[in-house]
Symmetry: C2
Subunit: 152 residues, 2 copies
């Protein structure tokens, strides 16, 4: 794997989360691929159904940003896999976030969340851009529990 | 988009779920890409952390199959997106499953589950094969709830 490609993909992945942290909707929009006839972006937020196409996906981010006063992502277990012009990144999002305070205080209560994500990027003329984001809550510690009945 | 490609990707996606339904571990193994230096398969079962590489991924399927006496997937909202030799499929898995009965009866109680999946396939010499599967439970009805505080 080209270390240059890997670094560029990791940088695009980091930029995605930094745009969320900054509440920078324009930068976030630019990081997502444009839809074409063959190719539509898709996004799954933790616990949500699938959102397809730039309209649905970007509207969801505008909503989330409107309801999030503070959010910080501590990324761990970042793994990049590369095939041709597609890159697949898996990572653990250790999230600390806070909504608006209800009593006029500066910030609502902070909430911690453990989410795992699969992010798919395509190489575009202006760099790696997001094709798909799928985030989901981690409810089990590992796949090693013999009694776990969770399915595919 | 070539209708031939779309049909082939949909067939690979269906074959993946049929292998699960049949408890056919060998067919399931063949449907997953081989790991290379650049490219490792990854898998997230609903509520699980990320599993990476054929060892972890296939072991998880062996475990799930060992604990599942009956599983049926009713797929809805199947959407195929295509770019070069990569295909991205999103779908809703309406799952009906049952574990082993504990009292000697034929089947344990059936459980319904609503899961959304993002499945990434690569075109290989012998057809489309899985690079990544990410499944997650649907906890909210839609992204339209103004009060939803869920994050990226």
């Amino acid at each position: 794997m080209s270390p240059v490609d890997t670094a560029a993909v990791e940088a695009a992945n980091t930029a995605f989360y930094e745009a969320m942290e900054a509440g920078d909707f324009d930068t976030l929009s630019d990081l997502w691929l444009d839809d074409t006839e063959d190719q539509r972006i898709s996004c799954v937020h933790p616990g949500w159904p699938v959102l397809s196409g730039r309209g649905e996906v970007l509207r969801s981010y505008a909503l989330i940003m409107a309801h999030t006063d503070y959010i910080q992502f501590f990324l761990t277990d970042v793994l990049v896999s590369l095939a041709g012009d597609t890159a697949l990144v898996t990572c653990t999002e250790n999230i600390l976030s806070g909504g608006p305070a209800e009593d006029g205080a500066e910030l609502g209560p902070l909430v911690g969340q453990l989410v795992v994500a699969t992010n798919v990027f395509r190489r575009a003329p202006d760099g790696w851009r997001l094709w798909s984001h799928h985030g989901s809550p981690v409810l089990a510690e590992s796949g090693d529990d013999e009694d776990d009945e969770t399915t595919a």
